[in-house]
C-alpha cells in the first residue's frame, strides 16, 4: 500500500500544479470520484445520472454533459468523451475554484474568462462557437422546465427578449437585412460583465481530510 500511495501522491502532485487545487482537496475529490465510479478508474454518464440529488435539478443534462465535453479540458479539442478519468474530472472541477487573496487583477480576468467560457460551452451545444437563438431558447426552456406549460410558452418570449438585448448591446446599429447569427463569446462576455463571475461561480472544496460522506449514494 505504501508504494502505491507514494505513486498516487506523485500523480496528485502533478494535478496540483495543473489544476491549482491543494493536495487535500484532490484527495477528497479522488475519494468522491471513486465513490461515484464504483471504484473504477473512469466515470460514465450513467454514474453521474444516478446521483439522486441531481434528479430535481432542471439543468442536470447540461451539467452532466459538461463533464464529458472536450472543450472544458483546456486543450482546444472538440467533441465529447464517453468516459472520463480522474484528471478530466478534476479539470472540469477546477473551473469552480474561487479566487484567493493573492490572485492578481490579471489572474482574476483570466479566471473570469475561463468561467465564462465554461458557461458558454454549456450553452453552445453544437460547438460552432456561437449561441444561436434555438440554443438559447433551449437554455431558457430547461430552466423553466419544472414549471409546466406556463414555463414553456414564456420561455420563447424570454429567450427572444434576451437575444434582442444581447444584439442591441453589442451591435447597436444593424441594417434591417442583416442577420444576427448568434451570441459569440465576446458578446457573451460583454453581456455578463456586470455579474463578476470570478466571485460568484465557485463552490467550497473541502480541504480537511474528512471520511467519506454518505450523501449522494
Amino acid at each position: 500500500m505504501g508504494a502505491s500511495q507514494t505513486h498516487s501522491e506523485h500523480k496528485f502532485q502533478d494535478l496540483v500544479d495543473k489544476t491549482g487545487f491543494s493536495l487535500e482537496q484532490i484527495i477528497n475529490l479522488h475519494k468522491r470520484f471513486k465513490q461515484l465510479s464504483g471504484n473504477e478508474d473512469t466515470i460514465s454518464r450513467e454514474n453521474l445520472d444516478s446521483i439522486p440529488a441531481l434528479a430535481t435539478n432542471p439543468i442536470r443534462k447540461q451539467i452532466i454533459e459538461a463533464f464529458f465535453d472536450k472543450r472544458n479540458q483546456r486543450q482546444d479539442e472538440v467533441g465529447s468523451f464517453h468516459e472520463i478519468g480522474f484528471e478530466q474530472f478534476l479539470m472540469v472541477m477546477s473551473h469552480f475554484r474561487p479566487p484567493t487573496l493573492k490572485t492578481t487583477e490579471e489572474e482574476r480576468e483570466v479566471m473570469r474568462r475561463e468561467k465564462l467560457r465554461f458557461l458558454f460551452n454549456m450553452h453552445d451545444t453544437d460547438s460552432d462557437g456561437t449561441i444561436t437563438l434555438d440554443e438559447y431558447r433551449k437554455v431558457v426552456e430547461e430552466l423553466l422546465s419544472k414549471s409546466g406549460a406556463i414555463g414553456l410558452e414564456a420561455a420563447k418570449a424570454i429567450a427572444d427578449a434576451a437575444m434582442l438585448e444581447v444584439a442591441s448591446t453589442n451591435v447597436p446599429h444593424m441594417e434591417p437585412d442583416e442577420f444576427y447569427e448568434g451570441i459569440t463569446f465576446e458578446h457573451f462576455e460583454q453581456i455578463l460583465k456586470g455579474l463578476e463571475m470570478e466571485s460568484r461561480m465557485h463552490i467550497r472544496f473541502l480541504d480537511v481530510n474528512t471520511t467519506t460522506m454518505h450523501c449522494g449514494k
Binding site: 468522491r32 461515484l36 446521483i51 440529488a53 441531481l54 435539478n57 432542471p58 439543468i59 442536470r60 451539467i63 472541477m93 469552480f96 479566487p99 487573496l101 458557461l119 444561436t132 437563438l133 434555438d134 437554455v139 431558457v140 430552466l143 423553466l144 414549471s147 406556463i150 414555463g151 410558452e153 414564456a154 420563447k156 418570449a157 424570454i158 427572444d160 427578449a161 434576451a162 434582442l164 438585448e165 444581447v166 444584439a167 442591441s168 448591446t169 451591435v171 447597436p172 446599429h173 444593424m174 441594417e175 434591417p176 437585412d177 442583416e178 442577420f179 453581456i191 455578463l192 456586470g194 455579474l195 466571485s199 461561480m201 465557485h202 463552490i203 467550497r204 472544496f205 460522506m213 450523501c215
Partner: protein, 768 residues
C-alpha cells in the same frame, strides 16, 4: 455659458439665502410660540386667572348682553401639540431642502453633519431666548422615530448578499459587539482606577454598562453615511447588516448590566442566564417578526378588491411586530427586519403595482423624515442636556472606541477569512472598521439610564463619540474610499440576461455541489427554494401567481416597466435605453419557428410607420372597405399554405418597416393586393401596438396559444379582451384597461370608417 452658470449660481445663492431667512423666521416664530405656550402651561398660577377673568366676564355677560362677538380670537392651546410637531418637521425638511440647493455643500459635508449642526443652532437659539430646548425623548425615539428607518431598511434588504454573507455578519455583530463592550468597559475601569483622574467612583459594572451602550454600531448613522458614498454591495451589506443584527446583543448587555449595576455583583449563573437571554431575545424577536410577516403575507392574498388599503397592511403589521417584540423586551429591530424580509416576496406578488409604489415611497418618505428629525434632535439635545465634561473620560472613550473597533475587525476577519470562500482584503477590512459609526441609539440608551451621578458624564462622552464618528469619520470616508480605490456599487439595472444566468448559475452550482457530494450553501438554498415553491407560495400568494417561476415574474416586471416607460416617454422623444435599430427580425432565422414574434419598436419608428400609413391610406381607402373583419378571420381556418403566406408577408412587412425607417424613401413597391393586406395588417397591428407591449408579458403567461400563431391579430386581441374579464386584476390594471378601451375603439374605427384624417389625428394624439 459661464455667465449663465454664474447667474444661476447667484440665483441659487439668493434662493438659498431666502430659504435661510425663511428658516430663521420660522425658527423665531416657533421659539416664540414655544415660549408663549410654555408660559401658559407652566404657570399654574396663571390658570385660575383666566378662569377668574372669565367668571366676571360670564357674570357680566348675563347682566350686560353688550359684549361684542369676537371676530378674531387666539386659541393656541387647542392646536399646540400638533402645531409644534408639524412645525418641527417642516423646519427639518426645509433645512434638508436648503442643503441641496447650495451646490457644493452636499458633496463635501454629509447630510447628517449638516443636520446636527442645524440642531445645534436651533438649540442655541432656543436657549438664548431663555427656554428649555426639547430633548430627544427616548420614548419618542424608540417608538416613533426609529421604526420607519428600520422598516425601510428591512423591507428593501438585498436578500442575496445578506444570506451569502450571513455568517460573517453574525460574527461581526455578536462577537464584535461583545468584544467592543468588554474591551471598552474593561479599559475604562482600569483607567478609572488610576488615582489622578478623579473617576474613582465609577465602578466596574457602570463601566461595562457604558461600554455596552457605546459599543454598538448604529444603523441610522451607517445608512445615512453609506447612502452617499455608493460603496460596493458586499461592504455595504457587511456594515449595515452588522448594525442591524447587533441590536440583540446591545439589548441583552444593556439590561444585564443595568440590573446588575444596581445589585452590584455578578455571579456565573447570572452570566449564563445572560447568554440564554441573548438567544431568547434574538430568536424570539425573529420569531415574532416572522409570524407577523406571514400574517401580513396571508392578508395580502385577499386584498384584490380593496387595493387602496394594501400598503397599510404592510405598515401596520410591521409596526405591530416591532411593538409586540418591545413588550417582551425582545429585540424590536430584529423583529422588524424579520417581518419585512418574510413578508416581501409574497406581498409583492399579490399587491398591485400602484400599491408597491406607494409602499416604496411612503417608507422612503417616513425614514427620511425620521432620520432628519433624529439628527436635528441630537444637535438640540447636545445644547440642552446637562453636561459634565471630564477630559480624561471623554478623550479616552473616543480613542478606545476607535481602537477597539479596528482591533475587533482585524482580529475577527483573520478568523473569518479561514471560513470564507472569497476573502476580505485589507482595504475592505479598513472600510468596515472605519464605517462603524455610533449614533442616536447610543444616545437614547444613555438617556434611559437612571443613575444621576454618572449619567451626565456618560451622556457627554456618548455625544462626543457620536459627534466624532459622524463628523470626522463621516466626512473623511468618502475621500478615503476614493483614495483606496474601493469598488463602487455597479449602477446598471438588472438585465434579462443577467437574471437568466443568475438562475442558471444557481442550478449549476447546486448540481456541481451534488456531484462533489457535500451539502454546501447552494444545496440548502435550493432545498429552501423548493420547499417555498411547493408549500409556502400556495398559501400566501393569490391565484395563478403562486405557480409563477421567478424568471417569468422578473420578465413580466421588466416588460411592464418598459411599457410604462414607453407610454410615459410619449412625445418627449426620449427613447428608452437602447437606441438601436435591432429588431426581432434581425434575430429570427429565415425559417421561422412557430413562435409568436413580439417586436418591440421604439417611438420614433412608430411615428414613421404611422406617417407612412397615413400617406398610403389615402390611396387605398376603397380597397380597405372590401376587406372586412370576416375576411381576415377566415384566413386561419384555411389550409397551411395561406398561413405560410401570411407569415411570409409579416416577415416582409417587418423588413419593410425597418427598411423604410433607415432608408427614407416614400416608395411603395408592393403590388396593390398585398399592399392592402399589408395596410390592414398595419392597421390591426397599430391598434394592437399600444396594447401589445403592456400585455406581452401577460400574454406569455396565458396558455391559450394553441391556436395557430400567424392569425389575425384582431382575433387575438378580441380573444384577449374577452379573456381579461375573468382574470383577477393584475398589476396596472388601469393602464391596460385604458389601453384596451382605446384599442377596441380604434379597432371599430379602423374597420368601419377608415378615414385617413380621423385616423391620422387619432394616431398622433395617441402618440402624444
Amino acid at each position: 455659458m459661464a455667465e449663465l452658470l454664474g447667474s444661476s449660481s447667484v440665483r441659487s445663492g439668493r434662493a438659498s439665502f431666502c430659504l435661510r431667512v425663511v428658516g430663521f423666521v420660522l425658527l423665531l416664530v416657533f421659539a416664540a410660540a414655544a415660549s408663549a405656550s410654555r408660559d401658559i402651561s407652566n404657570g399654574t398660577s396663571k390658570e385660575p386667572n383666566p378662569a377668574r377673568e372669565e367668571d366676571p366676564h360670564h357674570r357680566s355677560n348675563t347682566t350686560h348682553h353688550k359684549k361684542a362677538f369676537p371676530v378674531l380670537s387666539f386659541n393656541y392651546e387647542h392646536v399646540r401639540t400638533p402645531f409644534e410637531i408639524s412645525l418641527w418637521i417642516l423646519l427639518a425638511l426645509l433645512m434638508k431642502l436648503g442643503f441641496h440647493i447650495i451646490p457644493r455643500l452636499s458633496h463635501v459635508v454629509p447630510e447628517s453633519c449638516l443636520l446636527i449642526f442645524v440642531g445645534l443652532l436651533v438649540g442655541g437659539i432656543i436657549k438664548a431666548i431663555g427656554e428649555k430646548p426639547p430633548i430627544l425623548d427616548s420614548t419618542l425615539f424608540f417608538l416613533y422615530l426609529l421604526p420607519p428607518i428600520i422598516l425601510d431598511a428591512g423591507y428593501f434588504l438585498p436578500i442575496r448578499p445578506f444570506t451569502e454573507n450571513l455568517g460573517t455578519i453574525l460574527v461581526f455583530a455578536v462577537v464584535g459587539t461583545l468584544w467592543n463592550a468588554f474591551f471598552i468597559g474593561g479599559m475604562m475601569y482600569a483607567v478609572c482606577q488610576i488615582e489622578g483622574t478623579g473617576l474613582g467612583g465609577v465602578d466596574l459594572l457602570s463601566c461595562l454598562l457604558f461600554g455596552a451602550i457605546i459599543s454598538a454600531v448604529d444603523p441610522v448613522a451607517v445608512l445615512a453615511m453609506f447612502e452617499e458614498i455608493h460603496i460596493n454591495e458586499l461592504l455595504h451589506i457587511l456594515v449595515f447588516g452588522e448594525s442591524l443584527l447587533n441590536d440583540a446583543v446591545t439589548v441583552v448587555l444593556y439590561h444585564l448590566f443595568e440590573e446588575f449595576a444596581h445589585i452590584g455583583t455578578v455571579t456565573v449563573a447570572d452570566a449564563f442566564l445572560g447568554v440564554v437571554c441573548f438567544f431568547v431575545v434574538s430568536l424570539g424577536g425573529i420569531l415574532v417578526g416572522a409570524i407577523y410577516g406571514i400574517l401580513g403575507a396571508f392578508t395580502s392574498r385577499f386584498t384584490s378588491h380593496t387595493r387602496v388599503i394594501e400598503p397599510l397592511f404592510v405598515f401596520l403589521y410591521s409596526y405591530m411586530a416591532y411593538l409586540s417584540a418591545e413588550v417582551f423586551h425582545l429585540s424590536g429591530i430584529m423583529s422588524l427586519i424579520a417581518c419585512g424580509v418574510m413578508m416581501r416576496p409574497y406581498v409583492e406578488a399579490n399587491i398591485s403595482h400602484k400599491s408597491y409604489t406607494t409602499i416604496k415611497y411612503f417608507l422612503k418618505m417616513w425614514s427620511s423624515v425620521s432620520e432628519t428629525l433624529i439628527f436635528i434632535f441630537l444637535g438640540v439635545s447636545t445644547v440642552a442636556g446637562p453636561h459634565s465634561w471630564n477630559w480624561t473620560f471623554v478623550v479616552l472613550t473616543v480613542i478606545l472606541c476607535f481602537v477597539s473597533r479596528m482591533l475587533g475587525v482585524v482580529g475577527l476577519t483573520y478568523i473569518i477569512n479561514k471560513f470564507r470562500i472569497v476573502k476580505l482584503t485589507k482595504k475592505e477590512q479598513f472600510i468596515v472598521a472605519y464605517g462603524g459609526l455610533r449614533g442616536a441609539i447610543a444616545f437614547s440608551l444613555g438617556f434611559l439610564l437612571t443613575n444621576d451621578k454618572m449619567k451626565d458624564m456618560f451622556l457627554t462622552a456618548i455625544i462626543t463619540v457620536i459627534f466624532f464618528t459622524v463628523f470626522v469619520q463621516g466626512m473623511t470616508i468618502k475621500p478615503l474610499v476614493d483614495l483606496l480605490a474601493v469598488k463602487k456599487k455597479k449602477e446598471s439595472k438588472r438585465s434579462i440576461n443577467e437574471e437568466i444566468h443568475t438562475q442558471f448559475l444557481d442550478h449549476l452550482l447546486t448540481g456541481i455541489e451534488d456531484v462533489c457530494g457535500h451539502y454546501g450553501h447552494h444545496h440548502w438554498k435550493d432545498k429552501l427554494n423548493r420547499f417555498n415553491k411547493a408549500y409556502v407560495k400556495k398559501w400566501l400568494i393569490a391565484g395563478e401567481r403562486s405557480t409563477e417561476p421567478q424568471l417569468i415574474s422578473f420578465y413580466n416586471k421588466l416588460e411592464m416597466k418598459q411599457a410604462i416607460m414607453l407610454v410615459e416617454s410619449g412625445s418627449a422623444a426620449k427613447l428608452p435605453s437602447t437606441l438601436s435599430s435591432v429588431s426581432m427580425q434581425n434575430i429570427q432565422p429565415r425559417a421561422q419557428p412557430r413562435g409568436r414574434i413580439i417586436p418591440r419598436i421604439s417611438k420614433g419608428r412608430e411615428e414613421e410607420i404611422r406617417k407612412l400609413l397615413r400617406a398610403n391610406l389615402q390611396k387605398t381607402r376603397q380597397r380597405l372597405r372590401s376587406y372586412s373583419r370576416h375576411d381576415l378571420m377566415i384566413d386561419p381556418f384555411e389550409d397551411n399554405m395561406s398561413e405560410v403566406r401570411f407569415r411570409k408577408q409579416r416577415v416582409e412587412m417587418e423588413r419593410r418597416m425597418s427598411h423604410y425607417l433607415t432608408v427614407p424613401a416614400n416608395r411603395q413597391e408592393a403590388p396593390p393586393v398585398r399592399k392592402v393586406r399589408f395596410e390592414s395588417d398595419h392597421q390591426v397591428y397599430l391598434a394592437d401596438d399600444g396594447d401589445s407591449r403592456a400585455v406581452s408579458g401577460r400574454r406569455a403567461t396565458q396558455p391559450n396559444l394553441s391556436s395557430p400563431d400567424a392569425v389575425s391579430l384582431l382575433d387575438e386581441s378580441s380573444q384577449r379582451a374577452n379573456q381579461r374579464s375573468p382574470d383577477p386584476p393584475r398589476r396596472g390594471p388601469e393602464l391596460q384597461e385604458s389601453q384596451e378601451e382605446q384599442d377596441q375603439l380604434k379597432l371599430s374605427r379602423c374597420l368601419s370608417d377608415p378615414g385617413p384624417n380621423k385616423d391620422g389625428d387619432e394616431d398622433s394624439s395617441f402618440i402624444s
